[in-house]
């Protein structure tokens, strides 16, 4: 079983997000980057499948400038076998069609059985790249997956639907599957894993980037039209004011 995992490096949820003066993007030098949350679950699912099978290969693939090697190394430290960096400028990497095309070109000769990705990135949140990639490579696809079972060359996945519903979908391999957070417990890298990762291969590709079919004109902080009454003071004062608000304004006690 040969599994690719698409990993995106995104600003951490606690990172500041200063906007560049020309409002074209955030100031990347001021950002603390982490592995995209749902991608971390996707990686764990791939590692568990490889362990259950007793053989196979897990390849982590990340698209972006050299900083993304950090998340590739993190993936290798957790147990992935090798990495591929598709070296592109991050601002040029907005359009999922372009990104999926670049990944498709990079991996089409590899004949992966499964491509896992997180269901969406925590930065742009386009939520399309894994599905577009699957379509481009003629794979079956499924999104928002909460559980996987592999047998007899097929994969059965539990998809999350809306309003608390789920659905089992069975597909032939190869398959490109987007993973919902929470389906497993992602491991932390061991010290041995971290040391071993340094010796593992990262293949850096520098392809020509196609023309974007959608782009960001302007990035900005949203203006809230809601007036929020802020309650402050010491913890005791806050509690006192909250109780008054519950009683006199909202009238729930």
């Amino acid at each position: 079983m040969k599994i690719a995992v698409l990993i995106k490096q995104v600003p951490g949820s606690d990172s500041s997000l200063p906007i560049q003066n020309d409002a074209s993007w955030i100031n990347e030098e001021a950002i603390t980057y982490v592995m995209n949350e749902s991608d971390n679950y996707a990686l764990e699912e791939a590692l568990q499948i490889r362990e259950q099978n007793g053989n196979g290969e897990v390849v982590v693939i990340s698209l972006g400038p050299d900083r993304v090697q950090k998340v590739i190394r993190e993936g290798l430290a957790k147990g992935a076998d090798r990495g591929i960096q598709i070296n592109v400028d991050s601002v040029g990497a907005v359009d999922p069609l372009v990104n999926a095309s670049l990944i498709a070109d990079a991996i089409k000769e590899e004949k992966f059985d499964i491509v896992f990705s997180g269901l969406q990135s925590d930065d742009l949140g386009m939520g399309q790249t894994g599905i577009i990639l699957g379509e481009m490579l003629g794979m079956s696809t499924a999104s928002l997956v909460m559980e996987t079972e592999i047998s007899d060359g097929r994969i059965k996945v539990k998809r999350e639907l809306e309003a608390g519903y789920f659905q089992w979908v069975t597909m032939d391999l190869p398959s490109s599957i987007t993973i919902q957070s929470g389906l497993n417990t992602p491991r932390y890298p061991s010290l041995k894993g971290i040391m071993g990762a340094k010796k593992k291969e990262i293949n850096v590709l520098t392809p020509e980037v196609g023309q974007s079919k959608q782009s960001m004109e302007k990035v900005y902080i949203p203006q809230s039209d809601k007036q929020t009454v802020m309650i402050d003071g010491s913890a005791d004062q806050i509690v006192e004011k909250l109780v008054e608000t519950f009683r006199n304004d909202i009238k729930v006690i």
Partner: protein, 323 residues
Amino acid sequence: MDILIVIEDNNSKIHRMGLESIAAAQSISKDKGFSIGVLVMGGNAEGLSTEVSKYDVSEVLKLNNDIISSYSSDGYAEAVKQVIEQENPKYVFFGHTYQVRDYVPKISAKLMKPFLVDNVSINKDGEKFIFTKQMFNAKLYSDMVAKDNGPLLISFQSAAFSADNAQSGSASIRDISVDIDSSMIKTESDEPFQEEAGGMDLTAAEVIVSIGRGIGKEENIPMAQDLAKAIGGELASSRPVVDSGWLSAPHQIGSSGQSVSPKMYLALGISGAIQHVVGMKGSKNIVAINKDPEAPIFEIADYGVVGDVVEIIPKLSEALKEN
């Protein structure tokens, strides 16, 4: 046809976000004189087309055959792709539902046309449109433009437009067909099911005490339960709390859980990720307590406290019990 809207079947009814898409299309069509077509497909297309024809749109396109009578991503993607090729609209509108996320990227790949997702508004800029989407869990917005002549695939976030604003009218219904072969369908789908069904119905609660990641650890759950009891409300949570196994799935509010609109929603240590917000922003009063003054939950809160929920919750329970 200028705008094609694809309506989703929600248990034989028009998915609410389909009506929101109609409202969105109508809002930009008035001064442009756009024609609006609405596609209904699948096993319930007959009844749905009659429902949709009661809105102020140009026409309703009705599509059904054996292969698309129930949903599959391959079947729906191929069917809608062929309808787009037949009708050649400038824009194709969708609600940003889970189903749309599952199959519309495939249409984007088949046609090599961009899919501008999860928009919260449309603004006109000369002859083109600017579509605004949220990024970084709604901390920033981005104005997106298409660099393509279309057809453009566009989806709208839940409640970006109000279904109540969908104007009624009378539209003709046209049967259409597509050429799909069963060999194109790579998936076999079982029936949808609910887990832990019949557990809790939070939709009737007047007060909801909802906890998020800020509660810190499982050992702090009882203090939230205690607060819910003290205030006479139901305990609920955002997704991370359920993912961590601290509360069971029926407690979850948001796009993958329940949607609620209580008299008071007390959001404790909830950052306000959009997946959560879509399930509670209709609440009459939102009171948010969060350590991070930049948390997006404060954008929609009526009352806000910047503070540590683990410190405030026990004191609040105590004060409520004294009253």
